[in-house]
Subunit: 188 residues, 2 copies
């Protein structure tokens, strides 16, 4: 067996949840597409919510890895990487499988603020901001925290606008806005 049944389930669930949402995707469909028996799912996870958590944890890992890898492959300088954030965002928004931020979508579907799913979404956003802050510090920004917060809001706003306003150019708009702030960085 190449991949463990558990991995098959998590990968399939992640893909379906990202594309079609959480409540819209039923257990039966997940096990059918993963090619495993329903009982196998319930041997590995206590409930659908546990599977949702596992899928989101995997998505967080893959997304942040892929995002930072692309940013760092694009440019060498920290300041350039802050600008490249928006290029990577643009590529994502215009890719075939863009369906907004799955963590935002999860927060929209799971309304109980004390849900572990919401906690995981918040943690993902915290880690994304931390990554941007680290780039801002490396770039020698005068106020790295403020710069990171500013860029983070532009990125988050662009993701939101891309989905809700069906604006595929949202990242380009955000990049133009970011230029105003990035111009204050010390010239390398």
């Amino acid at each position: 067996m190449r991949a463990s049944k558990r991995e098959q389930l998590v990968d399939t669930a992640m893909r379906l949840f990202c594309r079609d949402g959480f409540q819209s995707v039923g257990i039966d469909r997940i096990v059918a597409e993963a090619g495993v028996a329903k009982m196998t799912l319930y041997n590995h996870f206590k409930s659908k919510d546990e599977l949702v958590l596992a899928a989101l944890r995997r998505r967080d890992e893959l997304f942040r890895n892929s995002f930072s890898r692309q940013v760092e492959a694009a440019v060498d300088t920290p300041a350039g990487r802050l600008a490249a954030l928006f290029d990577v965002l643009h590529a994502w928004i215009n890719s075939d499988d863009f369906n907004g931020c799955v963590f935002c979508n999860a927060a929209a579907e799971y309304r109980d603020a004390s849900s572990p799913i919401r906690a995981l979404a918040a943690e993902h956003k915290r880690l994304m901001l931390a990554y941007i802050r680290s780039l801002a510090e490396q770039a020698g920004a005068e106020h790295p925290e403020g710069l990171a917060e500013h860029l983070n809001l532009l990125l988050e706003g662009a993701i939101s606008q891309a989905l809700t306003a069906s604006d595929l150019d949202a990242a380009k708009t955000a990049a133009r806005a970011a230029r105003v702030v990035l111009d204050t960085l010390p010239k390398q």
Copy 2:
């Protein structure tokens, strides 16, 4: 009869959809809380989706009215009103009934991009941006379109962060970021 049955339904549906989401709120609960018979609902609306559309249309009207009224009551000058956007946002985020932007939530729950619900959400975002642009023009901005887009992204980012990252200070963060751009406005 004080309010028409139809209005009771739309108001109740809007309240429940905003608080608990769309798929989570069933027809039975709406008619029960609205105090009308189920057949009355289906005499006024062809389907649940039609009710969702009516509720979102009402929300769009109420929200934009309330938002612009608060902004204009706060300050007199156009430039001041651009800053006041973030104060009104802050008040909303920290109010009891904040559950994110219901149009973003709708886009998250209704994944079919060709759905009329998605079209309505996009229209709401378009109108919000148009309002900000009108303020930017009145404020005499050098590039009103660019300024409006920038502020809009900060506002949208703050709404998203407030919900997903459970960050009740997101509007304050966005206000600090906005200051950088608003300082370029001509002094009155």
